[in-house]
Subunit: 279 residues, 2 copies
Amino acid sequence: MSKLKVIDSIEEMQEISANWSEEVGFVPTMGYLHEGHLSLVKAAKENCKIVVVSIYVNPSQFAPNEDLDTYPRDFDRDKKLLEELEVDYLFFPKDSDMYPQNYKTWVNVNDLTKGLCGKSRPTHFQGVTTVVSKLINIVNPNKMFMGEKDFQQITVLKRMVEDLNFRVKIIGCDIVREKDGLAMSSRNKNLKSEDREKALSLSRSIKLAKNLFRDGEIESRIIKEKIWELINSSGAKVDYVEIVDPVTLEDVEKVDEKSRVILAAYVGSVRLIDNGNLE
Amino acid sequence: MSKLKVIDSIEEMQEISANWSEEVGFVPTMGYLHEGHLSLVKAAKENCKIVVVSIYVNPSQFAPNEDLDTYPRDFDRDKKLLEELEVDYLFFPKDSDMYPQNYKTWVNVNDLTKGLCGKSRPTHFQGVTTVVSKLINIVNPNKMFMGEKDFQQITVLKRMVEDLNFRVKIIGCDIVREKDGLAMSSRNKNLKSEDREKALSLSRSIKLAKNLFRDGEIESRIIKEKIWELINSSGAKVDYVEIVDPVTLEDVEKVDEKSRVILAAYVGSVRLIDNGNLE
């Protein structure tokens, strides 16, 4: 069993990654690991000889009014989970190293970042694309494993990697769900127990859309209306519900099996997201 | 004598650069090579085992009203010059590969790109930082050699490389001048012969500033006034004259020997730049 090495220095990580001798799989996370993250780590272990996981709650992807301060953290528990999965390196950088004074550079992906989560979180994706660019340059991986729960994020990052000619290949992995259907999220910890039922309206919405489509409904407008109804009547509050082309993220009027239902809702003060195709 | 390999495919260049066995020096250019470029190539040859030069007239750093169409080009001549200097690889990509349909990603460096050339060319540096990010990812060099004639450019790119944790080190090389003092530039070719004298007002301005400082003048305002006078009385037309801190590019009121005089002027329809410290 290989021993997990915890690296908190960018310089040290770059020295190690300068001359990887074997294929490297990378799983970038914000920590507070759940089964969803662990499924990415397992995929990386299956595909690559060396596995690097990063834990970094990236401040630049949170707006001032968002939940940076309450974002759950538990480094010791995370470390133990990664040791059990025989991860090789845990990269755990400091804010002052990632964004030193006089930091000035931002990576932006146009269009794809404007709608969906980008509408209610207009500076979010700039933070994501920038930190992932930095992490790719620091970790120098061959493959990067990301969950499809953040469907817009993975679409934006695939575009960025292709546009900027990064060498890494992004591998999208299926959403992992609790037994009751709730998509795994570190933010689920912040749900009050009485709000669980409301939170389930998100995954039920995806199922509803699949059922409607299977029964012949192809009008995006009608499917979205029924999802709004389902979520808001549960006591959760819709942020957005869209049905989009999975590559361009543009709204579709008539759906097909590849169309992606993407939605976000507030359950109490917790903002949750979910998505799925109509197959 | 090694044989120059011309590579026009991004994919092929990335395959070659995936596992460089020795230190690689890179000189990104827009072609129409002059002694300034060649001095960079020579520096790369002296410092690195493998030398890659790129020739790419990057459309995204030209605004619609600028001189993309008249930017001088002579591939065969450039190739011959690089062969003579025993360059290993000439990377010569196509627009349709560098910016395919649906291209959406841009790298921006804040603040440093706002003043100086950024004022009259507000989209220029976004094009430069983006294409250089791409070229770094494609060529995977250890060192990148750039001329200090584009002083703001090199300052912006150093910031970008540090901020995004690119592994390359940028080496700034001295401005190379014609015998009469004119800073080497591919654009000099577009100068009419009767405008040569006007063009010399730029390098004379740098000398004037050095002389004024040596004689005790430390008021930035006064040095700039005298440069405006010199350039405009020559028949050239000042775009800007600034004296700045060489790292932050912020205006200085009282100059010292490290302060950088940076200026741009139109000579006929040709826009030229020059700069120097006050040592």
